[in-house]
Amino acid sequence: MTGNTGSMHRPWRSVGFRLAFYYGLLLIITMIVTISIIYMQTVGVLYQGMTRQVLTVSQKLTTRFENGGPQALIQDIKRELGDDQNSGTELFLYVDSTRAKLAGNLDQPPTKVDGLRGGDHRLMRRRGQEISGYVIARSLSDGSQLFVGNDLHDQEAMDSLVTRGIALACAVAFVLLIGGLFVFRQELDRSVEPIRRTLTRVAAGEIKERVEPMGKEDEFALLANDINSMLDRIEALMSGVRNVSDTIAHNLRTPLTRILLRLRTAAEDASVSAIEKKHIDDAIADIEELTLVFEKLLQIVEAEAGARRIDFQPLSLSSVVNEVVDFYEAVAEVQQAKLAFTSAENCTVMGDPDLLAGAIANLVDNALKYGGIGTEVRLKIEVTPDRVLLTIEDNGPGIPGQELKKLGTRFFRLDRSTAGHGLGLASVVAMVSLHSGRISFDSAMPGLKVLLEFPRHLP
């Protein structure tokens, strides 16, 4: 039941959240791939076309220089600048060996000329205006230099356009992701919640609860159907157990009562001799013994069938143990034994105070009985965030290691010579599991250590 609110505090534990998260991740990856392709197909292709164009022009002009000398080159540059074709974006500069400008629209040669043989980006000035451009440098045979390039303005405009598009798309995707998280979560919660609600109540003992039909044909509706048929089966089994135990109870108890009453009538008869009376008393004692065994067994069976969980209420384990200790204090005193109890705060569990007290009393009783004169029994309650732990430890003779495992099984008795039926611990085990708890036995070196664990009830 701790998972109840867990998905709220630790979103990663919610399937809805994880699904939505993966869905969002997929969405973003798909988008990045798509956008990259678009980017390559637009900006990339344009850029490549531009660089090719610049290279071609620079080659053409170099050939022109080789064939016609500087004058032909200057003329060509002027013509290129004069025509309308790309004249807004094309960049030219022809300088002589002293770096004096002979022709072109750039004011001065770009910096770091050596790096421009294969073409690169540079910041330059064109007619007094600073621009960024792609430029190729060519050294000509007479020591003069030719720079051919292209303004990157359009490229950059395109670039920022596409980048803005990508950013916008990412923002949209993010909003979709967040929205998706909620929609997924809600959709899942809506489908799972009725199932969980029902199962929690069933676990609490309301075995007649069923998941409401959802009126859909999806996976959750199918799951709900499966769960309902499973619950039907469990209920049938449980009521079977109850019926059998009720019937056994009635059909055995009534005749047992009759026998006991008859025997008691007989024992009170004045004509009965002392020996006969002793036999009758023995028979009565035997039947009372039998009744006790029978009572315990039935109780174990019913506890195991979860018969009484409906009655559970939140209670402080500490006060239950305190009362039991108080109850046994007098017995401990008589046999010069010591009972010590320490408890942590806030040890609330769901349970039936009487059944819990009975189980704990049984353990304390055992500890005092087997510990003998002067034994020391220590009870301690500790709490963890979701459990309440009760340890009952004595310093008596304890139990041999290989027998520890058999403790708590029905009819198991360590010492056959003492009175008992081997049902006490078995009923403790049944009571603990009725309270959704766990019990374990360990050696306290010496003595026996019993550890009880119950789910902690948080208000």
């Binding site: 135990s245 009720d246 109870a249 009635h250 108890r253 009534t254 047992l256 009562t257 009759r258 026998i259 006991l260 009453l261 008859r262 008691r264 009538t265 039947i287 009744t291 006790l292 009572e295 039935l298 109780q299 019913e302 506890a303 018969a307 009484r308 409906i310 009655d311 009362e323 108080d326 109850f327 046994y328 007098a330 017995v331 008589v334 009487d354 059944l355 007290a357 009975g358 009393a361 049984n362 009783d365 005092l368 009985k369 006490g424």
Partner: protein, 239 residues
């Protein structure tokens, strides 16, 4: 409500003839006037028409009648007669607890007749007793419920809270047999069966405090049954 002869009137609703007869016979010996109802309808008819001091009701009656439904019907009719329910069902049965809360008692089969007798009497006394007496007295022992003061012949006796409750329960039920289970239920509110003689130890401790000065005993052991508090050992002892 005792009749002309001064006997308590008890109705036994139980389908098992032998059990019913035995209970009736034993109660008669204790001075009750008894009548037996064999099934649900006749039991209900008897219960609602005549005036009873106590009704002993079996849970499992013929034709699947649950004794508790008779009890519910009776209460629905405004009948407040104390009812002792006999149950063959296990003590784990949750409905049994509701019973206790309703002021009635229950007993699981098989039971000792002395237990039945003690509980029946306690039920009658409880319903007929007047407003709770704040000051209880037996012989030279006095107990004040309000100030929680206990004195014997002028000597102050200091008791633990449980010992006080135990003594108060004894003093509220003078001259009556109280079984160990009755003490366990009334003083500790436990319904389980402690294996060792815890109750005996508590009673003997209480006795020790009451009779510290070698005074005469007030709490007497009833062999095989329980205890009885009485000022006079000679009278009131039945057997």
């Amino acid at each position: 409500m005792k009749d002309a002869v001064g006997a308590w009137r008890c109705l036994v609703i139980e389908d098992d003839e032998e059990n019913a007869n035995y209970i009736a016979r034993e109660l008669q010996e204790l001075g009750y006037q008894t009548q037996i109802g064999r099934d649900g309808p006749s039991g209900l008819q008897l219960a609602s028409t005549a005036n009873w001091d106590v009704i002993i009701l079996d849970r499992m009656l013929p034709d699947e009648v649950d004794g508790l439904s008779i009890l519910t019907t009776l209460r629905g009719l405004g009948n407040k007669t104390p009812v002792l329910v006999l149950s063959a069902l296990s003590a784990l049965d949750q409905r049994v607890r509701g019973l206790k809360a309703g002021g009635d008692d229950y007993l699981t089969k098989p039971f000792a007749i002395s237990e039945l007798a003690a509980r029946t009497e306690a039920l009658i006394r409880r319903s007929s007793s007047a407003a709770e007496n704040r000051k209880l007295e037996i012989a030279d022992l006095t107990l004040d419920l309000a100030s929680r003061r206990v004195e014997r012949a002028g000597r102050l006796i200091t008791l633990q809270p449980r010992e006080f409750r135990l003594l108060a329960y004894f003093m509220m039920n003078p001259d009556r047999v109280l079984t160990r289970t009755m003490l366990l239920e009334a003083v500790w509110d436990y319904r389980f069966d402690p294996q060792t003689n815890v109750i005996d130890v508590h009673v003997s401790r209480l006795r020790g405090k009451l009779e510290a000065d070698g005074e005469c005993p007030l709490i007497h052991t009833e062999r095989g049954t329980g205890y009885r508090m009485t000022a006079d050992l000679q009278s009131n002892r039945k057997k």
